[in-house]
Subunit: 349 residues, 4 copies
Amino acid sequence: MAGNSFGKAFVVTTWGESHGKALGVVIDGCPPRLSLEESDIQQELNRRKPRIPSSTARREADKVEILSGTFEGKTTGTPVSLLIYNKDVDSSAYESIKDIFRPGHGDFTYLKKYGIRDWRGGGRASGRETAARVAAGAVAKRVLARERIKVTAYTVELAGIRAGLVDLDVVERNPFFVPDMAAAERMEKRVSEIKAAGDSAGGIVEVLVQGCPAGLGEPVFDKLDADLAKGLMSIGAVKAVEVGAGIEAARLLGSECNDQITPEGFLTNRAGGILAGISNGDNIVVRAAVKPISSIEIEQKTIDLDSKPRTISVKGRHDVSAIPRIVPVCEAMVRLVIVDHLLRQRVTG
Amino acid sequence: MAGNSFGKAFVVTTWGESHGKALGVVIDGCPPRLSLEESDIQQELNRRKPRIPSSTARREADKVEILSGTFEGKTTGTPVSLLIYNKDVDSSAYESIKDIFRPGHGDFTYLKKYGIRDWRGGGRASGRETAARVAAGAVAKRVLARERIKVTAYTVELAGIRAGLVDLDVVERNPFFVPDMAAAERMEKRVSEIKAAGDSAGGIVEVLVQGCPAGLGEPVFDKLDADLAKGLMSIGAVKAVEVGAGIEAARLLGSECNDQITPEGFLTNRAGGILAGISNGDNIVVRAAVKPISSIEIEQKTIDLDSKPRTISVKGRHDVSAIPRIVPVCEAMVRLVIVDHLLRQRVTG
Amino acid sequence: MAGNSFGKAFVVTTWGESHGKALGVVIDGCPPRLSLEESDIQQELNRRKPRIPSSTARREADKVEILSGTFEGKTTGTPVSLLIYNKDVDSSAYESIKDIFRPGHGDFTYLKKYGIRDWRGGGRASGRETAARVAAGAVAKRVLARERIKVTAYTVELAGIRAGLVDLDVVERNPFFVPDMAAAERMEKRVSEIKAAGDSAGGIVEVLVQGCPAGLGEPVFDKLDADLAKGLMSIGAVKAVEVGAGIEAARLLGSECNDQITPEGFLTNRAGGILAGISNGDNIVVRAAVKPISSIEIEQKTIDLDSKPRTISVKGRHDVSAIPRIVPVCEAMVRLVIVDHLLRQRVTG
Amino acid sequence: MAGNSFGKAFVVTTWGESHGKALGVVIDGCPPRLSLEESDIQQELNRRKPRIPSSTARREADKVEILSGTFEGKTTGTPVSLLIYNKDVDSSAYESIKDIFRPGHGDFTYLKKYGIRDWRGGGRASGRETAARVAAGAVAKRVLARERIKVTAYTVELAGIRAGLVDLDVVERNPFFVPDMAAAERMEKRVSEIKAAGDSAGGIVEVLVQGCPAGLGEPVFDKLDADLAKGLMSIGAVKAVEVGAGIEAARLLGSECNDQITPEGFLTNRAGGILAGISNGDNIVVRAAVKPISSIEIEQKTIDLDSKPRTISVKGRHDVSAIPRIVPVCEAMVRLVIVDHLLRQRVTG
């Protein structure tokens, strides 16, 4: 049953397969009278492109078109439809593995669910689907800019190497969106080694929301943290979501975990900017743990459509890690959640 | 804007404040012709009651009534309304702190959001609201039983002490729902020490789903893991959610993280039973990290309604940890997600 | 699949069967800081009670309780749960007809749909369910009052007799909510005759919305008229819904149907206050055609559970017409639609 | 706030303006493994094209493309995205009236609602938007065909002339989809006269559903008739919706209106195939009353953006009546409702 829409006030519906004709998104509920050009969206999509030759081989054009919802450069309040044609698609590499299930992929589960499967490039389960999310996130960014809310995602851990500091100024200056140049260099070296070994790596992305007003979030189920968790966990490869102190909160004492309050504000931010599911006006901090890319050259056991044992070794042009591509996707999903709740709070406030 | 409903096919809507007249839940979409008695629900509610004198002082009656949706002991397909009256409510203890914001609580954010706040017992933000979730989860349990799907929650970490093994047989035999009797004893001791110090503790709850068929979950947003993340994160005090290997997945190599497949099944279960957002037929494993209870005796800084500095020390009858009470709540939320997706898959399958 | 909720911003979920323990409604999305007392709701429920001895025999207490969502007489933004216990329920009259399908009733279709049926008093299909709608409508009335929007329903036709004029001042002064005292008298006489003949009658209810601002309605599917049509058609016994000129619009020429515009406003109101699905600031006018009550003394052909031919003659205490009871229900449904769209427009505006 | 989606299981989201780049629809929840080709959809779109030179002047190409959701000619269960580019768009005719509000149109209300308006060809409020509904309806038709459910719309009244009989065999043989050839001729003549006078005409469309199983519809709000009413009323120009006996039901006695039941079935069908909001297995019959086209040559009073009095006379290529174009649209909307409830009933049944 229908599950391709996200949000209740700023509703995005994505569609499209990796090797189909095109992919896109319809945004229903975008506020009217907002300046919006294709270049605003293209800019975000470009951030999703491979930043270093080593991390991918496929060249994705990802040229976005606005098909509706704007007039003379401004949104009109009607649905904004964004389209990206899939160019230079070559599905031949998938012909040979169309009868076997790649470990860690959705091949098996999609077939179990739907009784049919578009095996070309992973179909709907491909990471390519996230281009539509990034496009929608770019529109959300325009709304948030008007409210001076800023969302920034960056890599705090990759292949076991942690960033030692968070310097937002350097995030765009290295290929992995790391807020620590020295760590970024070590990560790059480690990723190269893993690539040489035919293996892949995971990492952790943190998303920071600055300038978010207090009051966003709709208890008791559509809490802000609950929707952030859903949004981030809905990204393929994400296996955990943390808010504020996250898992470490389970190990703190109450006296350590509580953020004491002073007339100048909270003394700490272990809550990650969210109390009882509602933003408290402080920075919102969430993290997504990303598993390693499932397609690896190292040979692995699997089965085919007839449940016969097979082995698989995925050659070629795959990324070693979903990072850095997933960083703008996490950023986009957080933007979608924040803008949805910003609009929802207008009803209550 | 409305956020008190959960699910799309099995829709639960909870209502009620901690110190109001009553609390309850309406379940819309409950399958017809299902045996359902008040005792089925009462039994689950009783598991939520304090198990040891040390962990609480308040005595909650929590007597549930089925007000609609059943006829001659069977569901009819119409909404099931469950009601629990709040008995022996005494709000006098909250009188003295109604003008100040308790650190770690929703006092501040509820007021910011709604411009008004029911300060009696935490109002809607109270953990008491979860009684309605447990009641709804008991109905979900009846549906799942028919499909031989079993959901079990237990404590894998409390106050920094981890369970060393998962023996489901002992979960109900100790006060903290720990699947390891020796660890349970150490936890109990540690919790007593923390209580004596006027402090509080957090922990980690794991939920195991056995017998779940492959095919549940609705990509790309209503993925099974995404909805599990939302469901668990919507519980007050939860600050992180993990699926399968969880955060550790970020540190594994692809060759370690992928679950290889054989004709007999998956060799490992790092995916936690979910691939590309769809159940793969293996056990589903999720975890929720629970922060320490915010109300502590240790004095803390805060402010009052006029933003004047104040201090607060919460005396009395509070639990030291949300564990064990939160364990049946996590179990209930996972049941609600699974039953919702079970019904949704009927549309697709 | 779940269908007992209405609205997207002001969401009402009703529950309860005619002869069950109780019935009620949960309102999620009610604006905070609104004065709301049980008497506000009781007053509307009382308008739904039989006004003349001839039109019914059952005495319904319909005493409403507010169980949540208010604090010190004001709404808090959390769900408002309203409960009405079913008193003096006697299902014995239904025992004899529990195996046969009453023509014009939902007996047959409920059984076909759910495979089980609560035959006591019509169960969920009973008109009694509308008490919950009236209760919710009373809360909506409080919100609309703050915006100076007034909704009034009245009977423009009953048993073939039309009201000749619309004098809102007399609506509450006759038993059928007719805006024309002379017509009301003729209707009363005609209804008595029909009752004596063991038959029943239908009629037409008009609902007038005064003071509605321009801009409400969400094209292209959640248009204001579309939601009004749904709301009214969802009331049992309603077989047609008209907006403005309604069916007659099909017979007018464009030059007759268009409402010409002057600086002082529209010259006519054939649109019924709605253009392209959005309110235009003029009075909104909608009508619902109500079929005659299905339970009649005149003997009719039917079948039983085994598809054997049977006859049925429903004796006793039934109303001759859904009018006047349905009048406050239509009023309530229109209020629910208007308040939902009023809140939704806050997001856009 | 978002209102461009329809349905809960078979969810369609339409987008696009009359003179924008393109228009389209995303269908989320389309069953997998269904044969679907572009020609299936094109065929339905072609029925929406002008059938006689007199009724329009604009030539719409309306060439549809399937961009996602199918693989090797079959649906995959993922979103089906359909696109129609707007060709040969010339907005110059609208330049001169962009500052004035056309009576009967959404010009005024769109501006009031959104504070901005795409005046080119009516923007989103244009009848052109319904091409997307017809495209979605063509997909619904494929699902319904599998269940042997047939939906047929036809004109029962046009410009005051009624069809005297319902002969489905002739519906496609005359320009107005009339099930009575003699009436069709008289209608054509009358429409020509009205066109010559610079005026426009309305009519009534009936939709017949054959083969619908009993049990569809989700009380108490998502009743089958309630959703049909919403679906039809959401079409621009529709001012009334009737089910079965419709408005006439208000004038019948109970003994006349009830459909008596025999072992062979219902003796009559005044209910229009729906009892208590649930299909009863009989034919479903609904009607939509369509107002005359608002754009007429006859001069009318209006105002401009500065509220100054103006007159308007719309010259040129406009249709005289929304009929026949609206007939396939009504058919499509009924199909969307039926297929949505067919899928929803899978959850319950």
